[in-house]
């Protein structure tokens, strides 16, 4: 597995992943998706205890809790862009079954796998450990896709968000080096 050992704190990293992937799957299920994509990985990462991902958003004046709403709104915006009335999300929400127990958290959508691979590469290169800010950084560095569209929809400058995420990571990496 690509995440058998990531950074310099394998036990911590494994604990984080054991929390992250089921949470991403739960977020995907709650939204009616069959697999967790990068956007749900970010939603889950923003709830991680280290708080660096949330603080990265706050550094650029954005509320991380708005990301979920931005996701839905950018989908509606995309549909409207081709002249479709957006699907009534709230009506569908009422008819979706509640999220089931995690079925297969390791099985994710290609976008999530791509995001996670890039994070693992960075964490290893920087001899760091897995922080939620790495997920924000990976999301902000993407050029295309649902996640970056939602970030832009929030009115956030991706380059500024990436810088904010790097700052959060450096603060923790620097502190643990001392």
């Amino acid at each position: 597995m690509i995440w058998s050992r990531i950074g310099r704190s394998p036990v911590t990293d494994m604990r984080i992943m054991n929390e992250l992937f089921p949470a991403a799957e739960a977020a995907a299920q709650a939204d009616g998706a069959s697999l967790a994509g990068a956007e749900y990985l970010l939603v889950a990462a923003l709830e991680l205890e280290d708080g660096t991902g949330r603080r990265a958003f706050e550094r650029v004046g954005a509320n991380p809790d708005d990301f979920g709403t931005a996701l839905r709104e950018q989908h509606a915006e995309a549909l409207e862009g081709i002249g479709l009335q957006s699907i009534d999300d709230e009506l569908l929400d009422r008819h979706l079954p509640p999220a089931a127990a995690p079925i297969d958290p390791v099985k994710t959508a290609p976008s999530a796998r791509k995001m996670f691979r890039s994070i693992v590469k960075k964490v290893r290169k920087e001899r760091s450990q897995l922080y939620s800010a790495y997920f924000v950084l990976a999301a902000a560095e993407a050029e295309h896709g649902t996640t970056i569209r939602a970030i832009r929809h929030m009115g956030v400058d991706p380059a500024a968000l990436a810088d904010a995420a790097r700052t959060e990571i450096q603060l923790l990496v620097g502190a643990s080096d001392q």
Partner: protein
């Protein structure tokens, strides 16, 4: 859902077109899940659901058996 062809993206607007595809796929997935749950609640069999969706029973069962709630537990929830 009605498509106004005058609003269809120009070929150059690739980003919009691709994002719309993703949004439609997401909407279709959500609608399918809600519809399958509705069918189960009404006592439909997996074969009937599969036939309606134009897929095999195995395919629909694999995708939804662990995801939807059995009709009995849904009724008890109410």
């Amino acid at each position: 859902m009605q498509v106004d062809i005058r609003n269809l993206p120009k070929p150059a607007d690739t980003e919009t077109a691709l994002a719309a595809v993703v949004a439609m796929r997401r909407g279709a997935d959500r609608l399918e899940l809600a519809a399958v749950q509705c069918a189960i609640d009404k006592g439909w069999t997996w074969v009937e659901i599969a036939d309606s969706l134009g897929v095999t029973k195995q395919a629909v069962h694999k995708r939804y058996a662990r995801r939807v709630q059995p009709a009995v537990s849904r009724r008890e929830d109410r």
